[in-house]
């Protein structure tokens, strides 16, 4: 017997034990803080101090909404003296439409990455819109995953089939992606050989891929110059297993392999009638459903509440999104060889999430209300021990977040006209070009702080068109700070509060005042330079 089954048994025992823990109705946020603190005490570590209001404000806006507060929002939050103002803000942001947009952005990146394998996946507004709708109405995660895996309807009117379309008719590739995304395990090594250290065998890989072997991408129409795709499923067809890659030789045909759930039972499948004739999918017609859908069987198995991987995978993934690092890290490599840093905590999170019917908004609310999330990113021994959550993580803003933060802080978003001037880009990144932003800042960041910006990013920051954001329209930041009727001190204060969401320190106040006080032909030029400095500095570039 492979020892993974023992591990699973232990996993279930832990699940049962933690169910007892949550039975005393301790909120999950308190369970988190208790368990994280217990490890600090055991390791004799001192955590960072709690985040200041200003630190918390910017962080929680970025994490929940992918955006930053306006000047007015900043000032009012910092001045608010009520004790539960953080919890109130969290509730407000969870209901903000930008929450749905931001979570949809994150899931779009999880499902497709920045450079999906093609087949029209660069134009996937259908599934992007669908994801946004699901997060807006807080669809339970198991239902969301089920819909993606069943892939009903078409790519334009419905959306979800696009996930399979990117792996056009390649069951092995779909299997790798599904296992990583929804089960948090990496099977790809087992595609070519039995893994020397991991549990998976090659037959596990192909047993799972067999569920997907009958899928076929079908073109079902066109609208607005985009092709509509649907996922058809045949009634017959098997995956052929040829053994280890190194033993393969030309002409060797594989053996058909039956579907088998990962480390579980084989699929119980009704036989096809003897006189059965396979259907042919016709263009521009929705493919008829098969008599027995292997795909739907797999989708149901993955998302059922007692699947041993599903709840753990999502609990861990969302934890990493907000805390910077998975309890199992990386989040899609859960295996006996890669144990969680806090096994009891992961079990408790998975159980709680399952008990709350995969309500992600509830789960995220618990995470960001925890003291662990609300630590400062400065202090403690965080950099050496990221897996002990001694300080908040520092992560780069994504391309979308960075542009949104520039648009908000400069006041561009508030004063932009409905029809931008000729030659200025439209679209979400306006007035900047999405092409360049995605190229230089677009690497997906999973919240793990994998920062890959380099020279090219700075060449863009230094020499690119950031000036387009510095509108002088009334109400913009540049117009406000270069208004000489206000005292210079107030204007410097405004500059810092608007761009960095905190008041300047004395030394900053002084240096900045000197910089902008030099008389020059164009009075706002120095202010524009000061804005550029704060828009490109590390404090702006990172969420901390």
């Amino acid at each position: 017997m492979r020892w993974s089954l023992n591990t699973m048994a232990i996993g279930f025992a832990v699940l049962a034990a933690s169910a007892l823990v949550s039975a005393d109705d301790k909120p999950l946020r308190a369970v988190i803080d208790d368990q994280v603190r217990a490890v600090w005490e055991k390791e004799k570590l001192t955590p960072a101090r709690p985040a200041t209001d200003a630190e918390f404000l910017r962080r929680v806006y970025l994490d929940l909404c992918g955006s930053v507060p306006t000047y007015d929002e900043t000032v009012s939050f910092l001045a608010d003296a009520t004790a539960d103002k953080r919890a109130t803000l969290i509730d407000r942001l969870l209901d903000d439409p930008r929450f749905a947009q931001h979570q949809a952005d994150i899931w779009d990146m999880i499902l497709f990455g920045r450079n999906p394998p093609g087949f029209d996946t660069d134009k996937r507004e259908g599934i992007q819109r669908w994801l946004r709708e699901q997060f807006a109405k807080n669809t339970p995660y198991d239902a969301l995953a089920l819909a993606i895996l069943r892939a009903e309807g078409n790519t334009l009117d419905d959306g979800p089939p696009m996930f399979y379309v990117q792996y056009r008719n390649q069951p092995e590739d779909v299997n790798e992606a599904i296992s990583q995304i929804f089960l948090g395990v990496q099977l790809q090594c087992a595609r070519c050989h039995d893994h020397p250290y991991e549990t998976w065998k090659q037959t596990d890989f192909f047993g799972m891929a067999a569920f997907l072997a009958r899928l076929e991408v079908v073109t079902v129409g066109k609208a607005n110059n985009l092709t509509k795709y649907a996922i058809g499923e045949k009634n017959s067809g098997d995956i052929l297993f040829t053994g280890p890659a190194k033993d393969q030789s030309p002409g060797k045909k594989g053996e058909p392999l039956k579907p088998k759930f990962l480390l579980g039972a084989a699929l119980d499948e009704p036989p096809l009638p003897k006189d059965f004739k396979e259907v042919k999918f016709e263009a521009n017609k929705p493919p008829p459903p098969p008599k027995f859908s292997r795909k739907d069987q797999l989708a149901a198995w993955i998302t059922q509440p007692d699947n041993p991987y599903f709840a753990r995978a999502i609990a861990n993934r969302v934890w990493a999104q907000f805390l910077g690092r998975g309890l199992v890290h990386p989040v899609d490599n859960m295996s006996p060889a890669n144990q969680p840093s806090h096994p009891d905590l992961l079990a408790a999170l998975a159980t709680a999430l399952r008990d709350h019917r995969f309500d992600l908004r509830w789960y995220i609310r618990e995470l960001v209300n925890s003291q662990t999330y609300q630590l400062s990113s400065i202090g403690g021994s965080g950099e050496q021990n990221p897996q002990l959550y001694i300080a908040a993580r520092t992560r780069p803003l994504s391309a979308e977040e960075l542009v949104e933060a520039w648009r908000i802080t400069t006041g561009y978003a508030a004063v932009e006209t409905t029809s931008p001037p000729k030659g200025v880009a439209t679209g979400r990144f306006r007035p900047l070009e999405s092409g360049y932003m995605l190229r230089f800042f677009g690497q997906p960041n999973s919240g793990t702080g994998d920062f890959q910006g380099g020279l090219q990013e700075h060449l863009y920051l230094n020499n690119g068109p950031l000036r387009n954001l510095l509108t002088t329209a009334k109400g913009s930041l540049l117009a406000t700070v270069s208004d000489t009727s206000l005292p210079i001190d107030a204007r410097v204060e405004r500059l810092y509060l608007a761009l960095l969401h905190r008041p300047p320190r004395d030394v900053e106040r002084q240096r900045m005042s000197e910089y902008v006080s030099v008389a020059s032909a164009k009075s706002d030029e120095r202010w524009a330079e000061a804005m550029w400095v704060l828009m490109t500095c590390s404090e702006f570039r990172f969420n901390h």
């Binding site: 990496q186 790809q188 090594c189 890290h329 990386p330 490599n333 990113s377 400065i378 965080g382 950099e383 520092t394 992560r395 780069p396 360049y436 702080g449 920062f451 890959q452 910006g453 380099g454 020279l455 090219q456 990013e457 700075h458 060449l459 863009y460 920051l461 230094n462 020499n463 690119g464 320190r505 030394v507 900053e508 240096r511 900045m512 910089y515 330079e529 000061a530 550029w532 400095v533 704060l534 490109t536 500095c537 590390s538 404090e539 570039r541 990172f542 901390h544």
Partner: protein
């Protein structure tokens, strides 16, 4: 003397500029100030540092049409072999210029590697490792940049001129990311500043102050990396003329041959002279699944003339002793000529070549069998190949870096340095 003059003068000019910046910029800029008025030391630094030029044959050049001739055999193809300046060693008739440089290079005829398709092969022959889902291995260029690069200098340590491979710096981080130049030596977008010098300069000083405010109490590695990249981007402004060739091209056209690849090889030599640790120069379209002979007839002559010119030029300038020139692609090509007169992908037995930086010239290492199907003698794996490259560059191939908590040696565990190749 002549070769170092430009560079040490250049360092000194930069040192002056940086003297005023180091305090506000933090500790990232190495203090070259001491070099001013001390060209002796500058030359010493220049002399000790090693460089590497990778000539990348994208698509996979054929060993049968270059260095491993099988004339008269069914796998031999249409070309004849010619004598070289090394008695007993013959190469393809498409390579008359390299035939006269064979005393400088070591050919490996016994490459046996493990990725037979382009994406995997390109990854493998840039990193020494097969693609992995869990570890992002760095390219050889990033490794050489880390161990032979010079922090705080103006040009990037790792420059790719019209070449392939997207593994980049991998887990070594953005500091060692390649800087990409187009096929005509064109710089990437946004390289040029439109600001007046004094505006750029004062804005930079203010930014340095703001950065120091953040980093003084925030220990984040990210901010440090962000700042290093900013410094590097800024310094690039002052060295853009290093990428311009037009003024010199007339003088070198004959030596390197009048081709795009020739120009790129001249650029590589200039960048070595300017202190860049690693330059990769690409030539594409070797994937000759059909009409193999015609493809090679078109591709090899300009490539081999440029390569020969590069070796001559490096030698004349005294740079070849400290500059390793690597010639490889991601794969070799099949012995069997297919029904479209093409050769397909083959990694069981193929050829690469090394020159300079302590590599023995005039050497052929390893042997293929009569038809070039199998390695007959002394197989060289990708790991052995990279271990030898690192050893030649005075970098310990067993040195470990950490991908997260996992130690990863520069050359894969178990790789052997091919000591016969080293003088």
């Amino acid at each position: 003397m002549k070769t170092h003059c430009g560079s040490s003068e250049h360092l000194s000019r930069r040192a002056l500029l940086k003297g005023s910046l180091t305090t506000s910029a933090g500790g990232v800029v190495m203090n070259w100030g001491g070099l001013f008025g001390n060209p002796g030391w500058a030359e010493e630094v220049q002399r000790q540092k090693k460089h590497c030029i990778l000539l990348w044959m994208n698509g996979g050049a054929s060993q049968f049409e270059t260095f491993d001739m099988k004339v008269g055999r069914p796998t031999g193809g249409v070309f004849r072999s010619i004598a070289t300046n090394v008695p007993g060693t013959q190469v393809c008739e498409l390579m008359p210029h390299m035939a006269q440089q064979m005393d400088k290079i070591a050919v490996i005829r016994s490459m046996r590697t493990s990725e037979v398709d382009h994406p995997g092969g390109i990854y493998l022959m840039h990193t020494g490792y097969r693609p992995s889902a869990t570890v992002r291995f760095p390219e050889v260029g990033a490794i050489v940049a880390k161990y032979q690069g010079r922090p705080g200098k103006d040009l990037p340590d790792f420059i790719k001129v019209s070449s392939q491979g997207d593994a980049g710096a991998g887990f070594l981080g953005p500091r060692y990311q390649p800087f990409g130049i187009g096929s005509k030596g064109d710089l990437p977008p946004f390289t040029n500043s439109s600001l007046a010098k004094e505006v750029e300069s004062r804005r930079h000083e203010l930014r340095s102050f703001v950065e120091s405010q953040y980093t003084q109490d925030n220990p984040s590695q990210l901010a440090r990396m962000h700042h290093e990249a900013y410094e590097a981007a800024r310094r690039l402004q002052s060295v853009q003329q290093k990428f311009k060739l037009d003024a010199e091209w007339d003088k070198y056209r004959e030596l390197y041959g009048d081709s795009g690849f020739g120009r790129r090889c001249l650029l590589a030599r200039k960048l070595v002279e300017s202190g860049v640790a690693f330059i990769e120069v690409g030539q594409s379209s070797y994937d000759s699944h059909a009409d193999n002979a015609s493809w090679h007839k078109g591709l090899v002559p300009p490539m081999e003339q440029a390569w020969a010119g590069l070796l001559t030029d490096l030698k004349d300038r005294g740079l070849l002793d400290n500059t390793l020139v690597v010639w490889t692609g991601e794969i070799g090509r099949t012995p069997k000529i297919n029904n479209r007169a093409g050769r397909d992908h083959y990694v069981r037995c193929w050829s690469t070549a090394l020159a300079g930086c302590g590599i023995k010239g005039g050497l052929v290492y390893g042997e293929s069998d009569a038809d070039g199907v199998e390695v007959k003698d002394s197989p060289v794996s990708e790991g052995d190949f990279f271990a030898t490259i690192y050893q030649s560059l005075s970098i310990n191939p067993r040195e470990e870096n950490f991908a997260g908590v996992r130690p990863v040696p520069l050359a894969p565990f178990g790789s052997k340095v091919v000591t016969d190749l080293l003088a």
